[in-house]
Amino acid sequence: MSSGNVELCRKEAAMMAPTESPIIHLASRGISPVILLIGLYVFFHGHYSPGGGFQGGVLLAAAILLLRLSLGTSLSQPIMPSWITLRLSALGALIFAGIGLVAVLFGGNFLDYHFLPMPWLDPAYLRYYGILMIEVGVTITVMTTLVSIYDDLLGC
């Protein structure tokens, strides 16, 4: 994992240099925000229809991997730097385990949303928002772990 924004990846410079074609640059820059938007849509549909944290996270990661493939690792650093990926992944796992442990602290089982300390909500809405917070953690972890796997494959 490199920490600089402009430092070029060694293996990438040797094996797969970023393409110079303006068509590919423009197309990937236009398609990537749309994939990000679809990923957010899938993530917010996790409660009541097909979709959820895992699929939304993989779609968000696919948008960033498209930029990494077409623009090269060094040019796509501003949208998701290499040094932040594993830390965000740990943060997502912390959100997941933290909400479960808060439920344990307030007298329930692990991930029992009924015991979350938000008494101004109905129990149904308590479970609704509990699942939503869990999905936030899952999405962040899946997205940043996939980007981190790509960066580690290229040795950045």
């Binding site: 293996k11 094996m15 797969m16 899938v42 097909p50 979709g51 959820g52 895992f54 699929q55 993989v58 779609l59 990661a61 696919a62 991997l65 493939l69 996939l146 796997i149 790509y150 494959l153 290229l154």
Partner: protein
């Protein structure tokens, strides 16, 4: 009518699996394996399991394809055995 579409999907699935295992060019094998994943997703849609199909399409045809292509680009392009 519905079983014909499903039968066609299964036939293309088996053909793509055999071709993907027997082809020597590793990049072509990765692309054919992506086709295999996508056909599996289509079969899951026809069985009514939308969530499984979604996961299969996103992970199998998206992320794993990118990862295997990058791994092939870092090693040799042709299989020697």
């Amino acid at each position: 009518m519905h079983w014909m579409i499903e039968f066609l999907l299964f036939v293309i699935l088996i053909v793509s699996a055999v071709v993907g295992l027997s082809v020597r060019n590793l990049l072509a094998a990765a692309v054919i394996l992506t086709i295999f994943s996508f056909l599996t997703a289509a079969i899951m849609v026809s069985l009514g399991a939308i969530d499984v199909a979604f996961t299969e399409a996103v992970v199998g045809a998206g992320a794993v394809g990118v990862f295997s292509i990058v791994a092939i680009l870092m090693t040799s392009r042709k299989s020697r055995d």
